[in-house]
Amino acid sequence: MSETNKVIEMKGITKKFGNFKANDNIHLDLKKGEIHALLGENGAGKSTLMNILSGLLEPTEGEIWVNGEKVSISSPDVANQLGIGMVHQHFMLVDKFTVTENIILGKEKHKFGFMDQATSQKDVKELSDQYGLRVDPKARISDISVGMQQRAEILKTLYRGADILIFDEPTGVLTPQEIEELMEIMNALVKEGKSIILITHKLDEIKKVADRCTVIRRGKSIDTVDVATTSQQELADMMVGRSVSFKVDKKPADPKEPVLEIKNLTVKEARGYDAVKAIDLDVKAGEILGIAGVDGNGQSELIQAITGLTKVDSGSIKLDGKDITNKKPRKITETGLGHIPEDRQRYGLVLQMKLEENMSLQTYYQKPFSNHGFLNHKEIKEHAKQLIEEFDVRTSSEENTASSLSGGNQQKAIIAREIYRNPALLIAAQPTRGLDVGAIEYIHKRLIEQRDHGKGVLLMSYELDEVMNVSDRIAVMYDGNIIAIVNADETNEKELGLLMAGVPLEKAHEQVTETEGKERETVANEK
């Protein structure tokens, strides 16, 4: 029989969607007090497996044992009663309610028929103190940061008595500092006797917090390994089934004339203050320009202005030598722009439409996809099939709705569509968010290929590694200004970090060389 320290055992889980097996005889066990990572490529079936564990989906075959007893988790309520709670990536919180109200939702305490707000707030406070989950119980969800929303979501599962917590890609939406905090929270939770399943594509996070890691590939479980004795490279290779290279291979850039020329650009934010403040910026043909910066320093507004989704307040933007200031998105697209938007579900896809229709979202009105206003479904389908094949978008059919794709594959579909149009300038905002390492490797290769074909690429990412490895030049944005533009091979993480915090280039440079000098000295002294 099962050992008593196993809180969860999933045995031989199979889940079919039609004829497609999203999970194929998967085994997974979770020990009490451990953090167990679940690793797999995009579309491998991680979310599906966890949706089964949390009662959102019923398995086609297989058994689930909780604390040594066989159970049937027919609904989220049942999962709740069994002490299983899931923190979804797209939070399930009511925007207009306060943190407390969201946490107690459905479990309200009453006093003479009235909701007992005071006691509830105290409960929430105590709970948040116990686990070090900083939240403001009285704040409205719409007013707090994504990190705090996530903490509220975690508290919600704890309030419902969860002992087993499932995190589905929790770090995708967080800033580096918030990720640190989350790791600490997870450690605190297991100290209190909770057990955690963590889905993430970031191997360093697995190395940092997880005890064991189960790898699944195309719906099948491959192996469960001890994290301490397995390297990141081994994990990656196991997951993809071939050797993955983390290093981005690229020749030096051969920049030509600028494809994007931004002069004195000011963009106002929705509430009316300047989000982008009179900046100048060029992207040349044959180079990748990275934009680094802490979230909310004007990067999003800059991109929205270039793509025509936001009005330009003053200044000018030229694409491929033509003025596109305040032109309509279609005009800009036709002038030669590709755009992988930051928010894929809001801007990148019409989720309820078929994948094949989404693949021609900007080109449906052109030949060969239509003729005199009539769609050519055959061409649309062929085109979609080709993209799916070439970019390895995992789906059982191009006729599936975009919403049925796994998160990472939705992203791959958008990237495929945008790169394939071969635009003079490709704007890639957070292009690899939510992608597995294999897919990231491939996407980076394609971005560099665009560059080598003499196209310009504007890469915006909050991940320093990505910006440093892929870009040729890096522009750092701080408070709506571009405070420095540096060559990628002449800078380092420290310098960029200082620049992103608003330290001017010369000072940052000084500080970095100073500390480096000191380090060298101490090393020398030790010897």
Partner: protein
């Protein structure tokens, strides 16, 4: 979020279930008040289906409902709730009569084309007003179309009394040149008012399908209705599509009004309220789930209910008021299939649906 086959089955099951529930609820109501529901439903269906005249009448009603149903649906696809279909029917109706009476001597083909086109255009403009206001000023289309409904009502009554007729409450009848009646249909249905509008409706059903699924314009309307942001990103113009879909919506409703005028009545008379076909078109569209063929069949069901309810008092002893309540209850359930879909989904989510991503 469902797999393809499931989705198809489900799209078929939901409306059927709504209809069944509607009838069951109607039956419970009748039982509660001491009437025999089996007798009542028998009277209703026998009355309509076994008699060519009443069947013709039901089909005539279905013809107009097809137009109003499609009209509502096309706006709904673009994310627009056009509650003003009734008003658009009315302006179409009065326009068709007005034109027909103004040029009584034109040859039939020409006069019919002219009347129908005029009604179509006026309906389109009437709805287009709400579309433009929404697209450029963000005004709520529900409120605007409701107000336009009342303007349509009083304007029509004014025109009837003061412009088209001379002070009366009824206009003259249009000449045979402007009538949509065809002899063989009238004879086939033993003198019902079923008319050539039926064929126009069938053609329009096909055109609607072609527009939505085969044209780039339909592609845009669907995309804009489903995700405004992604459509804008993709270079579609949300305002343009809102106006276009409202324009088409009003055109269909206006055409429906013209067929009421030139087919059903042959004239127009002052109205005390807005035509019910306008509002029932909403239920027809929701039951048909935006699918044109589905809308055609649900229009027939509504036509049968409408005409069939007339048999309840005489043949089943169910008084007029009760008959109307029962029909309203059925319409409610049928129209509320969105609700049923929702309940269905709640039961089924955990089994078939999953989140699209992480």
């Amino acid at each position: 979020m469902l797999t393809k086959n499931n989705e198809k089955l489900y799209n078929f099951l939901v409306p059927i279930l709504s209809i069944v529930l509607g009838f069951i609820f109607g039956a419970i109501l009748m039982l509660f008040f001491g009437y025999n529901p089996i007798l009542a439903y028998q009277a209703m269906f026998n009355g309509v289906l076994a008699n060519p005249f009443f069947f013709g009448e039901a089909m005539r009603q279905a013809t107009v409902l097809t137009f109003t149903g499609l009209g509502f649906a096309i706006a709904f696809k673009a994310g627009f709730f056009n509650i003003g279909v009734a008003g658009q029917v009315l302006v179409g109706w009065v326009t068709s009569i007005w034109v027909a009476l103004a040029f009584p001597d034109l040859p039939r083909i020409l006069l019919l084309t002219l009347s129908l086109t005029a009604a179509l255009l006026v309906g389109a403009v009437w709805a287009g007003i709400a579309g433009v206001l929404r697209a450029y000023f963000g005004t709520n289309e529900v409120i605007v179309t409701i107000m336009l409904n009342y303007i349509a009502l009083y304007l029509t009554n004014y025109l009837i009394r003061n412009v088209i007729s001379t002070g009366g409450n009824t206009t003259e009848r249009v000449g045979p040149n402007a009538s949509l009646r065809v002899d063989w249909l009238t004879q086939l249905t033993q003198g019902s008012r079923l008319n050539a509008g039926l064929f126009i409706a069938i053609i329009v059903v096909a055109l609607y399908w072609v527009f939505m699924t085969q044209t780039t314009a339909g592609f845009e309307v669907r995309a804009v209705g489903l995700n405004r942001f992604a459509s804008t990103y993709a270079g579609m113009s949300a305002p343009r599509n809102i106006i276009l879909s409202m324009f088409l919506s009003g055109a269909l409703a206006g055409l429906g009004g013209a067929i009421h005028g030139l087919g059903t009545f042959g004239n127009i008379f002052t109205q005390s309220g807005l035509p019910g076909v306008g509002f029932n078109g909403i239920a027809v569209a929701l039951l048909g789930l935006g699918n044109p063929v589905g809308i055609f069949f649900s229009a027939i069901l509504f036509g049968v209910l409408d005409v069939g309810s007339g048999f309840l008092p005489n043949r089943a002893g169910v008084p007029d008021e009760m008959a109307e309540i029962v029909i309203a209850a059925i319409i409610f359930f049928v129209g509320a299939n969105y609700l049923i879909r929702f309940l269905f989904e709640k039961v089924k989510t955990k089994k078939t649906a999953t989140e699209g991503g992480e």
